[in-house]
Symmetry: C2
Subunit: 209 residues, 2 copies
Amino acid sequence: MIQPSVYSFPQILAAALELVREKGWEGVSARAIAKKLGSSTMPIYSHVSSIEELEEELREKARSLMKEYQRRRYTEHPLLNLAFGYVTFARDEKNLFRFLYLEKPAEVKTEHLTGMKETFFADFGEDSPQGTALMKMQESGLEELIQHTWIFTHGLAMLVNSGSFGCNSNETILNFLMNAGEAFYLWGIGEGRDALQVEDLQEEPGGLI
Amino acid sequence: MIQPSVYSFPQILAAALELVREKGWEGVSARAIAKKLGSSTMPIYSHVSSIEELEEELREKARSLMKEYQRRRYTEHPLLNLAFGYVTFARDEKNLFRFLYLEKPAEVKTEHLTGMKETFFADFGEDSPQGTALMKMQESGLEELIQHTWIFTHGLAMLVNSGSFGCNSNETILNFLMNAGEAFYLWGIGEGRDALQVEDLQEEPGGLI
DNA sequence: TTGACAAAATAACAAGCGTTATTTATAATA
DNA sequence: TATTATAAATAACGCTTGTTATTTTGTCAA
Protein backbone atom coordinates (compact mmCIF):
# COMPACT_ATOMS: atom_id res chain seq x y z
CA MET A 1 0.00 0.00 0.00
CA ILE A 2 1.82 3.03 -1.22
CA GLN A 3 -0.74 5.62 -0.34
CA PRO A 4 -2.35 5.08 3.04
CA SER A 5 -6.08 5.53 3.11
CA VAL A 6 -7.12 8.91 4.41
CA TYR A 7 -10.45 7.65 5.66
CA SER A 8 -10.15 4.91 8.25
CA PHE A 9 -12.81 2.35 8.96
CA PRO A 10 -13.49 3.72 12.47
CA GLN A 11 -14.08 7.13 10.94
CA ILE A 12 -16.59 5.71 8.50
CA LEU A 13 -18.32 3.73 11.22
CA ALA A 14 -18.44 6.81 13.44
CA ALA A 15 -20.01 8.89 10.68
CA ALA A 16 -22.59 6.18 10.02
CA LEU A 17 -23.36 5.88 13.71
CA GLU A 18 -23.85 9.61 13.95
CA LEU A 19 -26.31 9.38 11.08
CA VAL A 20 -28.29 6.63 12.80
CA ARG A 21 -28.39 8.73 15.95
CA GLU A 22 -29.65 11.75 14.04
CA LYS A 23 -32.09 10.24 11.55
CA GLY A 24 -32.34 6.55 12.24
CA TRP A 25 -31.18 3.76 9.98
CA GLU A 26 -33.26 5.11 7.11
CA GLY A 27 -31.08 8.20 7.16
CA VAL A 28 -27.99 6.13 6.44
CA SER A 29 -26.83 5.74 2.85
CA ALA A 30 -23.50 5.59 1.11
CA ARG A 31 -23.95 9.13 -0.11
CA ALA A 32 -25.05 10.43 3.29
CA ILE A 33 -21.99 8.94 4.98
CA ALA A 34 -19.79 10.37 2.28
CA LYS A 35 -21.30 13.79 2.73
CA LYS A 36 -20.66 13.64 6.47
CA LEU A 37 -17.07 12.60 5.86
CA GLY A 38 -16.63 15.26 3.20
CA SER A 39 -15.65 12.63 0.71
CA SER A 40 -17.10 10.55 -2.08
CA THR A 41 -18.68 7.13 -1.62
CA MET A 42 -15.57 5.31 -2.79
CA PRO A 43 -13.63 5.21 0.51
CA ILE A 44 -16.62 3.46 2.07
CA TYR A 45 -16.57 0.68 -0.47
CA SER A 46 -12.86 0.23 -0.02
CA HIS A 47 -13.46 -0.76 3.60
CA VAL A 48 -16.71 -2.59 3.25
CA SER A 49 -18.08 -4.52 0.31
CA SER A 50 -21.70 -3.51 0.69
CA ILE A 51 -24.00 -1.36 2.77
CA GLU A 52 -25.48 -4.51 4.22
CA GLU A 53 -22.08 -5.40 5.61
CA LEU A 54 -21.75 -1.94 7.10
CA GLU A 55 -25.16 -2.34 8.68
CA GLU A 56 -23.97 -5.43 10.54
CA GLU A 57 -20.84 -3.61 11.74
CA LEU A 58 -23.08 -0.77 12.85
CA ARG A 59 -25.34 -3.14 14.76
CA GLU A 60 -22.29 -4.58 16.49
CA LYS A 61 -21.21 -1.08 17.47
CA ALA A 62 -24.68 -0.18 18.72
CA ARG A 63 -24.86 -3.42 20.69
CA SER A 64 -21.60 -2.60 22.43
CA LEU A 65 -22.90 0.84 23.39
CA MET A 66 -25.99 -0.87 24.73
CA LYS A 67 -23.88 -3.28 26.77
CA GLU A 68 -22.02 -0.34 28.23
CA TYR A 69 -25.31 0.93 29.59
CA GLN A 70 -26.07 -2.48 31.04
CA ARG A 71 -22.63 -2.95 32.58
CA ARG A 72 -22.84 0.05 34.88
CA ARG A 73 -23.55 -0.62 38.53
CA TYR A 74 -26.46 1.68 39.20
CA THR A 75 -27.59 -0.35 42.20
CA GLU A 76 -26.50 -3.44 44.10
CA HIS A 77 -28.91 -5.60 42.12
CA PRO A 78 -27.30 -7.13 39.03
CA LEU A 79 -30.66 -7.91 37.47
CA LEU A 80 -31.98 -4.43 38.17
CA ASN A 81 -28.85 -2.97 36.60
CA LEU A 82 -29.45 -4.92 33.40
CA ALA A 83 -33.04 -3.75 33.25
CA PHE A 84 -32.27 -0.15 34.15
CA GLY A 85 -29.48 0.00 31.61
CA TYR A 86 -31.80 -1.36 28.94
CA VAL A 87 -34.51 1.19 29.63
CA THR A 88 -32.22 4.19 29.94
CA PHE A 89 -30.50 3.20 26.70
CA ALA A 90 -33.94 3.15 25.08
CA ARG A 91 -34.53 6.63 26.47
CA ASP A 92 -31.18 8.24 25.73
CA GLU A 93 -30.39 6.62 22.38
CA LYS A 94 -33.80 6.55 20.78
CA ASN A 95 -32.69 5.88 17.23
CA LEU A 96 -30.03 3.38 18.22
CA PHE A 97 -32.57 1.47 20.27
CA ARG A 98 -35.03 1.52 17.42
CA PHE A 99 -32.30 0.44 15.04
CA LEU A 100 -31.42 -2.52 17.24
CA TYR A 101 -34.76 -3.73 18.51
CA LEU A 102 -37.63 -2.27 16.55
CA GLU A 103 -36.59 -2.10 12.92
CA LYS A 104 -35.73 -5.75 12.44
CA PRO A 105 -37.86 -7.95 14.66
CA ALA A 106 -35.43 -10.85 14.52
CA GLU A 107 -33.01 -8.98 16.71
CA VAL A 108 -34.98 -9.00 19.95
CA LYS A 109 -34.85 -12.75 20.32
CA THR A 110 -34.08 -14.38 23.62
CA GLU A 111 -30.65 -12.79 23.83
CA HIS A 112 -31.52 -10.55 26.76
CA LEU A 113 -33.50 -13.17 28.58
CA THR A 114 -30.57 -15.55 28.58
CA GLY A 115 -28.32 -12.62 29.45
CA MET A 116 -30.44 -11.95 32.50
CA LYS A 117 -30.32 -15.57 33.56
CA GLU A 118 -26.58 -15.78 33.15
CA THR A 119 -26.06 -12.58 35.07
CA PHE A 120 -28.25 -13.79 37.82
CA PHE A 121 -26.58 -17.12 38.32
CA ALA A 122 -23.11 -15.65 37.90
CA ASP A 123 -23.42 -12.78 40.34
CA PHE A 124 -25.78 -14.10 42.97
CA GLY A 125 -24.32 -16.31 45.61
CA GLU A 126 -26.04 -17.65 48.67
CA ASP A 127 -24.01 -15.22 50.73
CA SER A 128 -25.44 -12.03 49.21
CA PRO A 129 -28.61 -10.73 50.84
CA GLN A 130 -30.47 -10.72 47.55
CA GLY A 131 -29.13 -14.14 46.78
CA THR A 132 -30.46 -15.71 49.92
CA ALA A 133 -33.81 -14.07 49.40
CA LEU A 134 -34.08 -15.28 45.85
CA MET A 135 -32.61 -18.69 46.50
CA LYS A 136 -35.64 -19.49 48.57
CA MET A 137 -37.51 -19.86 45.30
CA GLN A 138 -37.66 -22.98 43.25
CA GLU A 139 -35.58 -23.12 40.10
CA SER A 140 -38.71 -22.89 37.98
CA GLY A 141 -39.88 -19.96 40.04
CA LEU A 142 -36.67 -18.12 39.36
CA GLU A 143 -37.01 -18.74 35.66
CA GLU A 144 -40.52 -17.33 35.83
CA LEU A 145 -39.39 -14.32 37.83
CA ILE A 146 -36.73 -13.47 35.32
CA GLN A 147 -39.14 -13.99 32.43
CA HIS A 148 -41.74 -11.69 33.94
CA THR A 149 -39.15 -9.10 34.75
CA TRP A 150 -37.77 -9.21 31.24
CA ILE A 151 -41.21 -8.79 29.66
CA PHE A 152 -41.93 -5.80 31.86
CA THR A 153 -38.53 -4.29 31.19
CA HIS A 154 -38.95 -4.66 27.45
CA GLY A 155 -42.38 -3.05 27.58
CA LEU A 156 -41.14 -0.16 29.67
CA ALA A 157 -38.21 0.39 27.34
CA MET A 158 -40.53 0.54 24.33
CA LEU A 159 -42.85 3.03 25.98
CA VAL A 160 -40.02 5.19 27.23
CA ASN A 161 -38.44 5.07 23.78
CA SER A 162 -41.56 6.22 22.04
CA GLY A 163 -42.08 9.02 24.51
CA SER A 164 -45.34 7.60 25.81
CA PHE A 165 -44.17 8.03 29.34
CA GLY A 166 -44.82 11.32 31.00
CA CYS A 167 -41.85 11.19 33.27
CA ASN A 168 -38.65 9.54 32.11
CA SER A 169 -36.43 10.39 35.05
CA ASN A 170 -33.99 7.85 36.38
CA GLU A 171 -35.92 7.75 39.63
CA THR A 172 -39.24 7.00 37.97
CA ILE A 173 -37.77 4.29 35.79
CA LEU A 174 -35.98 2.70 38.70
CA ASN A 175 -39.13 2.81 40.78
CA PHE A 176 -41.17 1.10 38.13
CA LEU A 177 -38.57 -1.61 37.70
CA MET A 178 -38.22 -2.14 41.42
CA ASN A 179 -41.94 -2.24 42.01
CA ALA A 180 -42.49 -4.72 39.24
CA GLY A 181 -39.58 -6.87 40.32
CA GLU A 182 -40.85 -6.89 43.87
CA ALA A 183 -44.37 -7.72 42.77
CA PHE A 184 -43.14 -10.63 40.68
CA TYR A 185 -40.88 -11.81 43.46
CA LEU A 186 -43.62 -11.79 46.07
CA TRP A 187 -45.98 -13.48 43.68
CA GLY A 188 -43.28 -16.02 42.90
CA ILE A 189 -42.68 -17.09 46.47
CA GLY A 190 -46.32 -17.97 46.51
CA GLU A 191 -47.99 -15.37 48.65
CA GLY A 192 -51.63 -15.10 47.82
CA ARG A 193 -51.48 -16.95 44.54
CA ASP A 194 -54.97 -17.66 43.20
CA ALA A 195 -56.28 -14.67 45.06
CA LEU A 196 -58.04 -13.61 41.88
CA GLN A 197 -59.93 -16.38 40.20
CA VAL A 198 -60.45 -16.15 36.49
CA GLU A 199 -62.63 -18.61 34.69
CA ASP A 200 -61.23 -20.74 31.92
CA LEU A 201 -60.88 -19.15 28.55
CA GLN A 202 -64.30 -18.71 27.05
CA GLU A 203 -64.91 -19.83 23.50
CA GLU A 204 -66.87 -16.85 22.30
CA PRO A 205 -68.87 -16.87 19.09
CA GLY A 206 -66.30 -15.56 16.67
CA GLY A 207 -63.89 -15.50 19.52
CA LEU A 208 -60.63 -17.35 19.77
CA ILE A 209 -59.03 -18.49 16.61
CA MET B 1 -70.19 11.38 -13.61
CA ILE B 2 -70.83 9.59 -16.83
CA GLN B 3 -68.57 6.62 -16.33
CA PRO B 4 -68.62 5.26 -12.79
CA SER B 5 -65.23 4.32 -11.39
CA VAL B 6 -64.50 0.64 -11.76
CA TYR B 7 -62.19 0.58 -8.78
CA SER B 8 -63.85 1.61 -5.54
CA PHE B 9 -62.02 3.03 -2.58
CA PRO B 10 -62.76 0.00 -0.37
CA GLN B 11 -61.24 -2.21 -3.05
CA ILE B 12 -58.09 -0.12 -3.09
CA LEU B 13 -57.88 -0.08 0.68
CA ALA B 14 -58.39 -3.85 0.80
CA ALA B 15 -55.61 -4.43 -1.69
CA ALA B 16 -53.29 -2.17 0.28
CA LEU B 17 -54.18 -3.91 3.52
CA GLU B 18 -53.45 -7.27 1.97
CA LEU B 19 -50.05 -5.96 0.97
CA VAL B 20 -49.30 -4.77 4.49
CA ARG B 21 -50.31 -8.18 5.80
CA GLU B 22 -48.05 -9.94 3.33
CA LYS B 23 -44.96 -7.75 3.26
CA GLY B 24 -45.42 -5.00 5.80
CA TRP B 25 -45.79 -1.31 5.05
CA GLU B 26 -42.56 -1.28 3.06
CA GLY B 27 -44.24 -3.64 0.62
CA VAL B 28 -46.92 -1.07 -0.15
CA SER B 29 -46.45 1.25 -3.11
CA ALA B 30 -48.73 2.76 -5.71
CA ARG B 31 -47.46 0.29 -8.28
CA ALA B 32 -47.78 -2.71 -5.94
CA ILE B 33 -51.39 -1.85 -5.17
CA ALA B 34 -52.09 -1.35 -8.86
CA LYS B 35 -50.58 -4.73 -9.66
CA LYS B 36 -52.74 -6.40 -7.04
CA LEU B 37 -55.82 -4.66 -8.45
CA GLY B 38 -54.82 -5.50 -11.99
CA SER B 39 -54.92 -1.83 -12.91
CA SER B 40 -52.62 1.12 -13.31
CA THR B 41 -51.75 3.54 -10.54
CA MET B 42 -54.22 6.14 -11.77
CA PRO B 43 -57.37 4.82 -10.05
CA ILE B 44 -55.54 5.07 -6.72
CA TYR B 45 -54.79 8.75 -7.20
CA SER B 46 -58.36 9.41 -8.17
CA HIS B 47 -59.48 8.31 -4.69
CA VAL B 48 -56.57 9.58 -2.66
CA SER B 49 -54.29 12.51 -3.30
CA SER B 50 -51.10 10.93 -2.03
CA ILE B 51 -49.71 7.71 -0.66
CA GLU B 52 -49.32 9.42 2.68
CA GLU B 53 -53.06 9.96 2.77
CA LEU B 54 -53.64 6.32 1.96
CA GLU B 55 -51.29 5.36 4.78
CA GLU B 56 -53.46 7.20 7.26
CA GLU B 57 -56.60 5.50 5.95
CA LEU B 58 -54.77 2.20 6.22
CA ARG B 59 -53.81 2.92 9.81
CA GLU B 60 -57.42 3.68 10.60
CA LYS B 61 -58.45 0.37 9.08
CA ALA B 62 -55.74 -1.52 10.98
CA ARG B 63 -56.76 0.19 14.21
CA SER B 64 -60.34 -0.95 13.75
CA LEU B 65 -59.19 -4.54 13.24
CA MET B 66 -57.16 -4.20 16.40
CA LYS B 67 -60.17 -2.91 18.29
CA GLU B 68 -62.15 -5.93 17.14
CA TYR B 69 -59.60 -8.12 18.86
CA GLN B 70 -59.90 -6.07 22.01
CA ARG B 71 -63.69 -6.03 22.01
CA ARG B 72 -64.12 -9.79 22.27
CA ARG B 73 -65.07 -11.19 25.66
CA TYR B 74 -62.45 -13.85 26.17
CA THR B 75 -62.90 -13.83 29.94
CA GLU B 76 -65.02 -12.05 32.51
CA HIS B 77 -62.26 -9.51 33.14
CA PRO B 78 -62.62 -6.43 30.96
CA LEU B 79 -59.03 -5.39 31.54
CA LEU B 80 -57.74 -8.85 30.83
CA ASN B 81 -59.74 -8.90 27.61
CA LEU B 82 -58.11 -5.69 26.45
CA ALA B 83 -54.67 -7.04 27.21
CA PHE B 84 -55.33 -10.46 25.72
CA GLY B 85 -56.77 -8.94 22.57
CA TYR B 86 -53.73 -6.71 22.22
CA VAL B 87 -51.28 -9.58 22.54
CA THR B 88 -53.13 -11.99 20.27
CA PHE B 89 -53.45 -9.26 17.65
CA ALA B 90 -49.68 -8.84 17.87
CA ARG B 91 -49.32 -12.60 17.37
CA ASP B 92 -51.87 -13.13 14.60
CA GLU B 93 -51.37 -9.96 12.59
CA LYS B 94 -47.65 -9.52 12.82
CA ASN B 95 -47.26 -7.00 10.04
CA LEU B 96 -50.34 -5.02 10.98
CA PHE B 97 -49.12 -4.79 14.55
CA ARG B 98 -45.69 -3.71 13.39
CA PHE B 99 -47.29 -1.20 11.05
CA LEU B 100 -49.31 0.32 13.86
CA TYR B 101 -46.98 0.24 16.81
CA LEU B 102 -43.40 -0.37 15.76
CA GLU B 103 -42.79 1.46 12.52
CA LYS B 104 -43.78 4.94 13.66
CA PRO B 105 -43.08 5.43 17.33
CA ALA B 106 -45.57 8.24 17.70
CA GLU B 107 -48.44 5.83 17.38
CA VAL B 108 -48.02 3.96 20.68
CA LYS B 109 -48.80 6.98 22.80
CA THR B 110 -51.03 6.78 25.82
CA GLU B 111 -54.03 5.73 23.76
CA HIS B 112 -54.15 2.21 25.15
CA LEU B 113 -53.42 3.24 28.70
CA THR B 114 -56.35 5.64 28.74
CA GLY B 115 -58.42 2.98 26.99
CA MET B 116 -57.67 0.59 29.80
CA LYS B 117 -58.63 3.14 32.41
CA GLU B 118 -61.89 3.98 30.70
CA THR B 119 -62.77 0.33 30.28
CA PHE B 120 -62.03 -0.32 33.88
CA PHE B 121 -64.14 2.43 35.29
CA ALA B 122 -66.95 1.81 32.80
CA ASP B 123 -67.30 -1.93 33.30
CA PHE B 124 -66.37 -2.43 36.91
CA GLY B 125 -69.04 -1.79 39.48
CA GLU B 126 -68.93 -2.45 43.16
CA ASP B 127 -71.31 -5.33 42.61
CA SER B 128 -69.01 -7.39 40.41
CA PRO B 129 -66.64 -9.72 42.24
CA GLN B 130 -63.64 -8.25 40.51
CA GLY B 131 -64.95 -4.80 41.13
CA THR B 132 -65.24 -5.24 44.87
CA ALA B 133 -61.78 -6.74 45.00
CA LEU B 134 -60.25 -3.92 43.06
CA MET B 135 -62.28 -1.19 44.70
CA LYS B 136 -60.46 -1.91 47.91
CA MET B 137 -57.49 -0.14 46.40
CA GLN B 138 -56.88 3.54 46.52
CA GLU B 139 -57.51 5.55 43.36
CA SER B 140 -53.77 6.06 42.92
CA GLY B 141 -53.21 2.37 43.47
CA LEU B 142 -55.61 1.55 40.67
CA GLU B 143 -53.85 3.94 38.36
CA GLU B 144 -50.60 2.23 39.19
CA LEU B 145 -52.07 -1.22 38.71
CA ILE B 146 -53.32 -0.35 35.26
CA GLN B 147 -50.05 1.30 34.36
CA HIS B 148 -48.04 -1.74 35.39
CA THR B 149 -50.40 -4.05 33.59
CA TRP B 150 -50.21 -1.99 30.45
CA ILE B 151 -46.41 -1.94 30.46
CA PHE B 152 -46.31 -5.69 30.88
CA THR B 153 -48.92 -6.23 28.18
CA HIS B 154 -47.05 -4.05 25.75
CA GLY B 155 -43.81 -5.90 26.41
CA LEU B 156 -45.46 -9.28 25.99
CA ALA B 157 -47.08 -8.19 22.75
CA MET B 158 -43.72 -7.07 21.36
CA LEU B 159 -42.00 -10.31 22.25
CA VAL B 160 -44.83 -12.45 20.94
CA ASN B 161 -44.87 -10.39 17.76
CA SER B 162 -41.17 -10.86 17.12
CA GLY B 163 -41.41 -14.58 17.76
CA SER B 164 -39.16 -14.43 20.81
CA PHE B 165 -41.61 -16.45 22.79
CA GLY B 166 -41.34 -20.17 22.60
CA CYS B 167 -44.98 -20.85 23.15
CA ASN B 168 -47.58 -18.46 21.82
CA SER B 169 -50.72 -20.40 22.67
CA ASN B 170 -53.77 -18.62 24.00
CA GLU B 171 -53.36 -20.44 27.28
CA THR B 172 -49.77 -19.39 27.76
CA ILE B 173 -50.50 -15.77 26.93
CA LEU B 174 -53.51 -15.69 29.20
CA ASN B 175 -51.51 -17.24 32.01
CA PHE B 176 -48.75 -14.69 31.72
CA LEU B 177 -51.24 -11.84 31.73
CA MET B 178 -53.16 -13.26 34.67
CA ASN B 179 -50.04 -13.93 36.69
CA ALA B 180 -48.70 -10.47 36.08
CA GLY B 181 -52.03 -8.86 36.83
CA GLU B 182 -52.33 -10.82 40.03
CA ALA B 183 -48.80 -9.98 41.07
CA PHE B 184 -49.40 -6.27 40.49
CA TYR B 185 -52.73 -6.42 42.27
CA LEU B 186 -51.31 -8.10 45.33
CA TRP B 187 -48.41 -5.72 45.38
CA GLY B 188 -50.85 -2.87 44.98
CA ILE B 189 -52.94 -3.70 47.99
CA GLY B 190 -49.77 -3.43 49.96
CA GLU B 191 -48.79 -6.93 50.92
CA GLY B 192 -45.10 -7.12 51.62
CA ARG B 193 -44.15 -3.84 50.03
CA ASP B 194 -40.56 -2.99 50.81
CA ALA B 195 -39.73 -6.63 51.24
CA LEU B 196 -36.74 -6.08 48.98
CA GLN B 197 -34.64 -3.10 49.93
CA VAL B 198 -32.66 -1.46 47.21
CA GLU B 199 -30.26 1.35 48.00
CA ASP B 200 -30.65 4.72 46.45
CA LEU B 201 -29.41 5.17 42.94
CA GLN B 202 -25.64 5.16 42.98
CA GLU B 203 -23.78 7.85 41.15
CA GLU B 204 -21.16 5.76 39.47
CA PRO B 205 -18.06 7.22 37.88
CA GLY B 206 -19.24 7.70 34.33
CA GLY B 207 -22.58 6.48 35.46
CA LEU B 208 -25.88 8.27 35.31
CA ILE B 209 -26.26 11.08 32.91
C1' DT C 1 -73.52 7.85 -35.88
C1' DT C 2 -70.92 11.27 -34.06
C1' DG C 3 -69.08 14.30 -30.64
C1' DA C 4 -67.76 14.91 -25.99
C1' DC C 5 -66.19 13.71 -21.76
C1' DA C 6 -64.11 11.10 -18.17
C1' DA C 7 -61.68 7.07 -16.55
C1' DA C 8 -57.94 4.19 -17.15
C1' DA C 9 -53.45 2.97 -19.32
C1' DT C 10 -49.07 4.38 -20.82
C1' DA C 11 -45.18 6.76 -20.42
C1' DA C 12 -42.39 9.87 -18.48
C1' DC C 13 -40.02 13.03 -14.82
C1' DA C 14 -37.35 13.80 -10.87
C1' DA C 15 -35.41 11.98 -6.87
C1' DG C 16 -33.15 8.62 -4.23
C1' DC C 17 -30.86 4.28 -3.67
C1' DG C 18 -26.66 0.66 -4.19
C1' DT C 19 -23.03 -0.08 -6.94
C1' DT C 20 -19.36 0.36 -10.39
C1' DA C 21 -16.67 2.08 -14.54
C1' DT C 22 -13.89 5.78 -15.59
C1' DT C 23 -11.11 9.51 -14.69
C1' DT C 24 -8.14 12.44 -11.84
C1' DA C 25 -4.71 13.38 -8.55
C1' DT C 26 -1.17 12.22 -5.55
C1' DA C 27 2.67 10.05 -3.59
C1' DA C 28 6.30 6.58 -3.70
C1' DT C 29 9.75 4.50 -6.63
C1' DA C 30 13.16 3.74 -10.46
C1' DT D 1 12.56 13.71 -13.01
C1' DA D 2 9.67 10.36 -15.15
C1' DT D 3 7.01 6.34 -14.23
C1' DT D 4 3.72 3.82 -11.96
C1' DA D 5 0.48 2.38 -8.68
C1' DT D 6 -3.52 3.54 -6.16
C1' DA D 7 -6.76 6.29 -3.34
C1' DA D 8 -10.30 9.34 -4.20
C1' DA D 9 -13.56 11.97 -7.18
C1' DT D 10 -16.69 12.02 -10.90
C1' DA D 11 -20.04 10.24 -13.44
C1' DA D 12 -22.86 6.89 -14.78
C1' DC D 13 -25.99 2.50 -14.76
C1' DG D 14 -29.95 0.19 -13.28
C1' DC D 15 -33.49 0.09 -10.12
C1' DT D 16 -37.48 1.73 -7.30
C1' DT D 17 -40.12 5.30 -5.54
C1' DG D 18 -44.08 9.13 -5.81
C1' DT D 19 -46.30 11.77 -8.96
C1' DT D 20 -47.99 13.67 -13.24
C1' DA D 21 -48.42 14.56 -18.54
C1' DT D 22 -50.11 12.41 -22.31
C1' DT D 23 -52.57 9.18 -24.76
C1' DT D 24 -55.94 5.67 -25.32
C1' DT D 25 -60.42 3.70 -24.45
C1' DG D 26 -65.17 3.31 -23.65
C1' DT D 27 -69.68 5.09 -22.73
C1' DC D 28 -73.35 8.40 -22.64
C1' DA D 29 -75.87 12.30 -25.09
C1' DA D 30 -77.15 14.75 -29.12
